[in-house]
């Protein structure tokens, strides 16, 4: 007689709610015409309800499903970050999809499914669940990257992303298998207690597994030297998709990264923290140096997002509770500023979907001062200038690292922030100090949803920069 599984549906409620809405969107899509706006509202409602329902269990860490699923502040906060970022992505897509002729209703449901994957990822405490979560997210992203089916760049982005992503999944999986073999369990809690027990001896198999995990996760968060897909894929994908994939999925993978390394295998951190330090440093450097010569705005932001992965790795390396809360805060801050910047790229897009080069922004400061000011806010915040959110986030990350004594790492991080200003300011300089070349006039397409996104992003960037207190005390819980 098989005992009935212990099922805790309340813990799972955000996942269930969102899955139901995703399927609802899928079904509703069959019955409506070409205007997909109603799907947008349905999706937003689903995200909202999912975020609200994540609060159902309170904040204490509650394990369910044989310790493979956990609800705690970390996962709840990230659920909110995911809901916000997916909502922003969906709102951004509305006018973009109309202009580009993407009339695929499944688009919204795939975003929702991807969000389900992210929530699963952030709440998993088990290697199998984490692997499944990563795959749900990745597969959704492969599809989203290729959603502009007639566009060669989009095809190419999807193919590159897919092949390299599957390749990296192979490494990740091998790593998980070796960790499982060395510890005899897939639950992170049990792994941690096995490693903590006195008779456990570190085996080469375990270390090999850890290295392969670093490779796999390193790929998914686009850290150097596993980053090379990022600029190409970011450039080739539809811009709302790019914005989406640079925030939510990355945050989710970082969450799993954090759970495995800080909650699962902190006892062997002697072996992995130097590796991650080196990876973080070269990630920051390659990201920032790579961005300096980019002319395409999307590629520029792609490199910038690589360098931000480096900063977030610093939070992970810190391994303390401050590191965790700074990671959460940074995710939220990054969601706002990144979406803001991409939203502006979208509304300034040329009609044929070509992306603006940096030089096309010349003179924007005078023709469209409000847009230019918003863009400046986002870029300065990405660079880490007070009083914007990016600064507070970086500050927290670095202070977490300082607390653990990673002084060199922090100094290099600060140095990189300084380098990053070079290319962020370059865009601002173009906007305010250069005359446009030729007679090309930037025509912003001011769709209400896009403006709403920019408004939210500006608000978030400034609000988190000036009054970070409430959010931080939440993450500290």
């Amino acid at each position: 007689m098989i005992p009935a599984p212990i099922v805790d549906l309340v813990s799972l409620s955000p996942v269930i709610v969102l899955s139901l809405f995703a399927m609802g969107v899928l079904i509703l899509d069959l019955f409506i015409g070409k205007d997909k706006t109603v799907l947008v509202f349905l999706s937003l409602l689903g995200l909202f309800l999912a975020a609200v329902s994540s609060l159902a269990k309170g904040t204490g860490p509650i394990y369910s499903f044989s310790n493979s699923y956990v609800v705690d502040t970390f996962s709840i906060f990230l659920t909110f970050v995911f809901a916000i970022s997916s909502a922003l992505a969906i709102m951004l897509s509305v006018s973009y999809n109309k202009e580009q002729g993407i009339k695929i209703g499944e688009y919204y449901s795939i975003i929702l499914f991807c969000t389900v994957g992210m929530i699963v990822l952030a709440s998993s405490a088990d290697l199998i669940m984490i692997f499944l979560g990563i795959e749900i997210v990745s597969i959704s992203l492969y599809i989203l990257a290729g959603i502009r089916r007639t566009e060669k760049r989009s095809n190419e982005a999807a193919l590159k992303y897919f092949l390299l992503g599957a390749f990296a999944s192979g490494f990740l999986l091998y790593g998980m298998a070796l960790v499982y073999g060395a510890t005899g369990t897939t639950h992170l809690k049990d792994i941690a207690s096995v490693l903590a027990s006195s008779e456990f001896k570190t085996s080469p198999i375990l270390l090999m597994g850890v290295v392969l995990l670093v490779v796999g996760f390193g790929f998914k968060v686009a850290s150097v030297p596993f980053h090379m897909w990022a600029p190409d894929v970011y450039q080739g994908s539809a811009t709302p998709v790019t914005a989406f994939m640079s925030v939510g999925p990355k945050a989710a993978v970082f969450a799993a990264f954090f759970r495995i390394f800080v909650e699962g295998i902190p006892n062997i951190s002697d072996y992995w923290d130097t590796i991650l330090c080196i990876v973080a440093v070269i990630t920051m450097f390659v990201g920032n140096l790579g961005a300096i010569i980019q002319d395409n705005m999307k590629r520029l932001l792609a490199y910038s997002s690589i360098s931000h992965a480096g900063y977030i790795l610093v939070a992970l390396i810190a391994k303390n509770s401050l590191g965790m809360s700074s990671l959460l805060f940074y995710m939220l801050a990054y969601a706002f500023m990144s979406f803001g910047a991409f939203a502006i790229i979208i509304i300034l897009d040329k009609q044929n979907g070509d992306n603006l080069e940096v030089k096309d922004y010349a003179g924007l400061g005078f023709k469209h001062p409000v847009i230019a000011v918003c863009m400046s806010i986002f870029l300065l915040s990405l660079g880490g200038l007070p009083p914007f959110a990016g600064f507070v986030g970086k500050f927290y990350i670095f202070s977490a690292a300082v607390k653990e004594g990673y002084i060199t790492l922090v100094v290099l991080g600060v140095l990189n922030s300084a380098i990053s200003f070079y290319y962020y300011l370059r865009v601002i300089v173009y906007m305010y100090m250069k005359e446009p070349e030729g007679d090309y006039q930037v025509q912003p397409s001011l769709a209400p949803f896009s403006l709403l996104v920019i408004g939210i992003a500006v608000f978030g960037t400034i609000e988190l920069g000036i009054f970070p207190g409430p959010v931080i005390s939440w993450t500290m819980n």
Partner: protein
Amino acid sequence: MELLIFYPIAALAVVLALFVVFNKSPIGSAVSLIGLMLCLAGVFIGLSAHFVAILQVIIYAGAIMVLFMFVIMLLNLKDDDNVIWKSREGNTLLTVLTGFLVLGILYKIISITLSADSSKPAKIMESFGTTAEVGKSLFTTYVLPFEVASILLLVAMVGALVLAKTKID
């Protein structure tokens, strides 16, 4: 005795894997891959994982590889001679690098795994690896991954449709 079965199967698996990689014709690769899957099913039986062995044959060799064959036929791919060292552009550096890396990994993996020999296999019950036993743990401890996998498959299905449909509206 078991070693006598294991070694031929393992050797065959390695040879087939090399065929997959170095075969000029994609169809040849796919057929070799099916053979590889079958070999692995044999290996699984040797490890008393009967249920997995069956699934390996049904899902991998059956479903997945058929999909591969189908697509290869659909695209009507010709043989290609684009294994790297036969290319016209002399990517010597790349080749050498690749060779070194691959050898390096192989060396590391083997030397590391050889160190795992100290552990003795656990005593297992007769029913280990049967459908009943695996199913029990699948529907109790791992019920959540099982359900989540369904979402994964749904996404993949929707995605494949979206991407491959000839015409959308």
